[in-house]
């Protein structure tokens, strides 16, 4: 009897070990353990074997594998995750993609604030996995990546940009500042605080400060995100906020905030029709548009890059994507193909490095 009980215990422990092994085998990346990440960090991850290969004149036709993996380097439920899942659903609805019989999965890997996912994808060797793994990459991710890791834009192949989110500058409804120029004037003599989230908003805020603040009177308060920024502004704890329309809409409708400037050169419509752009106001230099893109391993084949770039174009053309993501989040469609997106990200990288110093 005691032998049987021992056997039961041993079996239970074996089951636990098997589950552990299953968990170990669940990773799809080569460097999925901290020790291997630590050793990988000592070797530059920006090697680009593709650059040493002879250029092919025309990429061979590419067909996705049975399973395509989209890695969202953020928690489930975040904007990054929602964007990735909407793209996933849109891909499935595109006839050309559906005809391949491929399945698309979204995997969340938020370890290291997304750095682990970036490292893993950057380290994928040439082959089926590299050709069928996409990673979400936003312009706002560059700051943390450049500051805390040895990875750069060259560590990846940029596949394309789908949407662009422009920043808005807003104040509480009872603020004494009626226009952006009021703030520019005020900051010459008063101390003001401008709040915004992480990543792209930090960069945008830094640009605002660099352009309008010559006396060190403007401090940037980094919040945990757009909603936290709204708390700071609505609560009267800061003077100005940087936000996105999807968060501001409710407060604009209720009259609790006023938007005083919009990034870029094209006005929004609806609630923001009367809000001037920074270009109109003469501050076109203040620009760090949040682009939501996808990237892949630097060892992704040229054929696969072309394929995914084209697929992203089809995603942006799809009514499903426009209705379920662009309109609901008040983003702007801003498709860029692989080459254009790469140039844009390299330019953003330069700007980011200049701000980081």
């Amino acid at each position: 009897m005691s032998k049987n009980k021992k056997l039961v215990s041993v079996c239970a422990l074996m089951l636990a070990l098997v589950m552990c092994l299953t968990a170990c085998g669940g990773g799809t990346q080569q460097s999925s353990t901290p020790t291997s990440s630590a050793s990988a960090s000592s070797a530059p991850a920006s090697s680009a074997p593709a650059s040493s290969a002879p250029e092919s004149t025309e990429p061979e036709a590419f067909t996705p594998a049975k399973t395509v993996n989209i890695i969202a380097n953020a928690k489930a439920g975040t904007n990054i995750d929602i964007h990735a899942r909407t793209v996933m659903e849109t891909l499935k609805s595109i006839d050309e993609f559906a005809a391949t019989g491929a399945n698309v999965l979204v995997t969340n890997q938020e370890d290291g604030n997304g750095a682990v996912a970036q490292r893993n994808v950057a380290g994928l060797a040439a082959g089926e996995e590299a050709d069928n793994t996409l990673l979400t990459l936003n312009v706002g991710d560059l700051a943390a990546m450049l500051e805390n890791t040895d990875m750069t834009v060259d560590s990846f192949k940029i596949l394309g940009v789908t949407v662009q989110d422009k920043h808005m500058i807003y104040v509480r409804a009872d603020s004494p500042f009626q226009t952006f120029n009021d703030i520019v004037e005020a900051v010459k003599t008063q101390k003001l605080v401008i709040a915004g989230g992480k990543g792209d908003e930090v960069m945008f805020g830094s640009m605002v400060k660099a352009v309008i603040d010559q006396n060190g009177n403007l401090n940037y308060l980094q919040t945990s995100g757009n909603n936290d920024t709204a708390v700071q502004v609505l609560g009267g704890h800061v003077d100005v906020g940087i936000g996105k329309p999807s968060v501001l809409n409710a407060y604009m409708e209720s009259g609790d905030v006023r938007t005083i400037a919009v990034e870029g050169d094209v006005r929004f419509d609806g609630l923001y029709a009367d809000v001037p752009t920074l270009v109109e106001l003469g501050y076109g230099d203040i620009s760090y548009i949040q682009c939501r893109a996808f990237c892949a391993s630097p060892n992704m084949s040229d054929a696969a890059i072309q394929y995914w770039s084209d697929m992203l174009a089809k995603v942006c053309d799809s009514d499903y994507f426009v209705e379920n993501y662009v309109i609901k989040n008040q983003s702007s469609l801003g498709y860029m193909d692989a080459a254009t997106a790469t140039e844009y990200f390299l330019s953003a990288q330069e700007n980011t490095l200049a701000v980081l110093g």
Binding site: A16, G27, A115, K198, V231, G235, E253, S254
Partner: protein, 496 residues
């Protein structure tokens, strides 16, 4: 009166068959998600969110809120039975819940948990019903200086947790602060103390840490006790009847449940705070002022009641700023906010005006979900309580599996498992050395919030500390802090 009539109209929405079904499904899922360590309400809601895209928005949000709410019930079950909090909002429940289970009072602990969750949740919902916009406005008044002062007061609660050996408790708290500094700077996102290990850029994850410190360390302890045969015949019979609380026990749990219900609701509306902070503070408050405070930590109903009432009340509190201002009060409500936007709803100041049916239907559904979840929770008590009779030799592999799976699920990677293993060794060493774990975990949660808010306050004031005195709410908390520190010191000096 108008509020009541709106609430009753909300009931007519909530009690539609589809919505009742969604509530029932959500409550079941929430109980399961809550009971499974590593899968908290945030993960549960986020993973089920895509399933609800095809639902009617009201039905969808009712189901997701039921998951969120029932998760707070379920989190206590594994905390009580296995000493592994099912959710980070149930950490303090382990301190008295598990000792009660070890004494053969698992049924009473579960009963106390369910009743207290119901009471706390009801208090939160009543406050939400009548004061949602005011609650939200109160939350807005708490900026970085106010939160700093409040958190300084909260940090003093560490003193009530360090137990009979202050030095060891202090060391434990400092360890928690040290562990909390690993990761990224909260103000400028620069990596610190991450030793160029990418995984550590995100810091030490709380769920694997808790699972390790409580669950895996306990498993190691049990390994040493595996040859000890417990005399089950001496255990109290684990019948449903024996799980009921006596009249005297009901009287004991009501004051902490009511106090924590109010406290949890207020904590829930504060930006960045949520069920876990409410759980901590509810327990600490009871340990400070409760009638049975000397025995807390040994397995008393007051400890379970205070912790569980607070975390359920915090759910309602977190919904106040979400519905009234479109500002999520917790991580899970942030996911709900994303869902609301996807369904085309805009939570904010005009929600109660433009989507009155939706808003009041949601609030009414919470009342119904509360009753339903209580009923289910009470029914399953005997089944859960029998887990206490599982022999140690079988309990070890069960706990091991739960720890591994829970840790992996929380981070979707081996990083969580490794963290859990190391935390388990640390927790075991702390147990052997007599270092209490609760101060470490409390400090781990509160210290980063304190640091973040303090540094934000200095950014806002351009480095001047006067900001803490210039803000009325901040000044109030600082004065309160001064009184709580100075008065006992003066008394001690006078006694000498």
């Amino acid at each position: 009166m108008e509020t009541l009539s709106l609430l009753f109209s909300g009931f007519s929405t909530a009690l539609q068959p589809t919505n009742i079904l969604a509530m029932i499904v959500g409550a079941f899922l929430g109980l399961i998600v809550g009971a499974l360590p590593g899968i908290g309400s945030l993960t549960g809601v986020a993973l089920l969110l895509p399933m609800t895209y095809s639902f009617n928005p009201t039905t969808a949000i009712i189901m997701l809120c039921a998951i969120y709410y029932a998760n707070m019930y379920g989190g206590s079950y594994s905390a009580i039975m296995l000493n592994i909090p099912g959710d980070n909002s149930a950490v303090m429940t382990t301190l008295d819940g598990y000792p009660m289970a070890k004494k053969g009072l698992a049924g009473k602990a579960l009963f106390t948990s369910n009743i207290s969750s119901f009471v706390g949740g009801t208090i939160g919902m009543i406050i939400l019903t009548f004061f949602a916009p005011n609650l939200a406005k109160l939350g807005l008044k708490f900026g970085a200086p106010e939160m700093t002062s409040l958190l300084l007061v909260a940090m003093t609660s560490l003193g009530w947790m360090i137990g009979e050996k202050p030095l060891k408790g202090l060391v434990s708290a400092m360890l928690g602060i040290i562990l909390a500094t690993i990761g990224s700077d909260p103000v400028n996102s620069t990596g610190r103390f991450y030793f160029h290990i990418d995984y550590l850029l995100g810091g030490i994850q709380f769920i694997p840490l808790v699972i390790g410190v409580f669950g895996f360390s306990q498993m190691i302890t049990l390994m040493g006790e595996r040859h000890i045969v417990h005399d089950l015949s001496s255990d109290k019979k684990l019948t449903y009847r024996n799980s009921f609380l006596t009249g005297e026990e009901f009287k004991r749990i009501m004051p902490p449940a009511l106090r924590s219900g109010f406290l949890g609701t207020i904590v829930g509306i504060l930006p960045g705070a949520g069920g876990s902070v409410a759980n901590f503070l509810g327990y600490v408050l009871e340990k400070r002022i409760g009638k049975n405070k000397e025995h807390m930590g040994e397995g008393v109903v007051e400890g379970v009641a205070a912790a569980e009432a607070a975390n359920n009340a915090a759910v309602a509190g977190a919904l106040a700023p979400l519905l009234s201002l479109g500002i999520p009060g917790s991580g899970t409500t942030a996911v709900l906010l994303g869902g609301l936007i996807m369904w085309g709803l805009t939570p904010g100041p005009l929600l109660f005006v433009q989507n009155s049916d939706f808003a009041w239907g949601l609030i009414a559904s919470m009342y119904v979900a509360n009753i339903f979840t209580l009923a289910v929770g009470l029914i399953i008590i005997p089944g859960l309580a029998n887990l206490a009779r599982v022999p140690t030799r079988l309990l070890i592999p069960i706990i091991s599996v739960i720890c591994f799976v829970g840790a992996y699920s929380s981070t979707n990677s081996l990083y969580g498992v490794i963290t859990m293993l190391l935390a388990g060794l640390l927790g075991y060493a702390m147990n052997v050395g007599g270092y209490p774990a609760a101060p470490m975990l409390l400090a781990f949660v509160l210290a980063p919030m304190l640091e973040e808010n303090m540094r934000k306050a200095f950014v806002m004031s351009f480095g001047s500390p006067l900001i803490f005195m210039q803000k009325p709410i901040s000044l109030f908390f600082l004065l309160f802090l001064a009184v709580t520190l100075i008065v006992p010191a003066v008394k001690a000096i006078r006694r000498r």
